[in-house]
């Protein structure tokens, strides 16, 4: 069937570079989800707001983040802002773009969760003398985050996959490094397979960490 000899030695020789690149992927994934979650919470609340400006900002953000390719968002963060004289490093640009994208998707996920919380609880919390911030922080979001935990983990994985697009603008993350190494060795299959396995491991690590965090935070 095969007329091809696999050469794994060359992959092991470049193991340190792959590992370093994988750590960069992991780092941006975690940071972008944390930033995205923070902004996403704000946006999801604004989408419930009576203030038309806040509503408009949130609705536009969500529509733009969800309906344009992530590659374009990364491009705009790097070159789009650059044409206005605002220069982000590839790292910052990818982090900003993926966080922007995460915030849009997470806001939509969280909104669904907020809708599912019994409205009587809102009145009850306000009636107990809480202000709106306290209500969201202590009553609404703890329930929401628990209810939509699975969709959030999906978004975390998506964020990890999205970082691979950063290679276009010069981020040497895992896919970028893999592309570089295959161009030097002409062994695409071996290197991309190694990358796939590393991605799988990174995903597992992130998901386990997310579950542990959730367990601590929500005392599951």
């Amino acid at each position: 069937m095969f007329d091809y000899r696999f050469q794994w030695r060359v992959v092991f020789r470049h193991w340190p570079e792959l590992l370093e690149a994988a750590l960069l992927t992991l780092q941006i994934t975690v940071l972008s989800v944390m930033i995205g979650l923070a902004i996403g919470m704000v946006l999801s609340v604004w989408r419930k707001s009576d203030n038309p400006l806040l509503y408009w900002i949130a609705a536009t953000w969500v529509a733009l983040a969800r309906n344009t390719p992530a590659l374009l968002q990364i491009y705009l963060a790097y070159f789009g802002l650059g044409s206005f004289g605002l220069h982000l490093s590839p790292y910052t640009a990818v982090l900003a773009a993926i966080s922007f994208n995460n915030a849009g998707y997470l806001a939509e996920i969280l909104r669904g969760g907020i809708d599912a919380v019994n409205p009587a609880q809102r009145n009850a919390s306000l009636g107990l003398g809480m202000n709106r911030l306290q209500m969201y922080a202590y009553v609404i979001f703890p329930q929401v985050l628990r209810a939509v935990f699975l969709p959030i983990t999906n978004q975390i994985i998506w964020a990890m996959l999205g970082t691979s697009l950063g290679m276009i603008i010069g981020l040497q993350e895992l896919t970028g490094m893999t592309t570089f190494l295959q161009s030097q060795t002409f062994r695409p299959f071996e290197f991309y397979l190694a990358a796939a396995i590393i991605y799988l491991l990174v995903a597992e690590i992130v998901l386990i960490a997310a579950r542990l965090t959730a367990r601590l935070a929500f005392r599951w």
Binding site: D3, R66, T68, L76, F189, A195, Y199, A203, E204
Partner: protein
């Protein structure tokens, strides 16, 4: 070389328009294949076999944890070294179908789970076989529950088809046609914003249409109850 214009021409616009058409084509074909495969994978996970559960779970997990770009290259080079060279367009469609099937499988599973156990039990109690129950009760109810998620997946797929550009598949889809123009006229920003507008319009219109349809469906459902 004399025909090498360095400005955006009408021809370029047509190329992008054709690219948008190819994007649609890729989405529909791989969406269809992916939904069929994903349906069986999702269903298979609900059949109760531990081995099947583990294998299909691994299938889903692997596919969802590897960037699509990597999958494209991997599948393409795997077929090549296995002695079944495919054109990048065909290997791209197959990769996209496999990729989206993993996500569809999750949606199918959620849809099946959304049907209350007592509803199925009632159906079985009425003398329906497992398959009758599945096709006449579980499937219709489950489909309504997860249709919005499925639409979301297909919209995501439409944007993801752009990554086929890494294989240089011809005819070029929207992003690839943009890249071809960029290589010639060196104005990535302008062209990509144009391409982004194309994607936005396509996604936004479909999302709006399906949203309206779902709301109408929901109202009809409520009216029935």
């Amino acid at each position: 070389m004399s025909t090498l214009s360095t400005t955006f021409t009408w021809q370029d616009f047509l190329l992008m328009l054709q690219g948008a058409g190819i994007t649609f084509f890729l989405t529909i074909v791989s969406g269809l294949f992916g939904t069929i495969v994903g349906f069986f994978v999702g269903w298979g996970r609900c059949l109760g076999s531990k081995l099947l559960l583990y294998l299909l779970g691994a299938y889903i997990e692997v596919i969802r944890a590897v960037p699509l770009i990597v999958q494209f290259v991997l599948f393409n080079s795997f077929m090549a070294i296995a002695g079944f060279p495919l054109s990048p367009f065909i290997s791209g469609i197959l990769t996209l179908s496999i990729y989206i099937s993993a996500y569809v499988a999750e949606v199918v599973k959620a849809g099946i789970e959304s049907v209350p156990r007592r509803t199925s039990m009632a159906a079985r109690g009425l003398g329906m076989t497992y398959l009758q129950d599945f096709f006449h009760v579980v499937l219709p109810i489950g489909t309504r529950a997860v249709l919005p998620s499925w639409t979301g997946l297909m919209l995501g797929l439409m944007k993801d088809t752009s990554l086929i550009a890494v294989l240089g598949a011809t005819p070029p889809e929207l992003l690839r046609s943009s890249q071809i123009i960029i290589t010639r006229i060196h104005d990535p920003l302008l062209i990509l914003i144009g391409a982004g507008a194309f994607y936005f319009v396509m996604c936004f219109v479909i999302a709006r249409l399906s949203g309206r349809y779902e709301r109408r469906w929901q109202r009809e459902q409520e009216a029935l109850q």
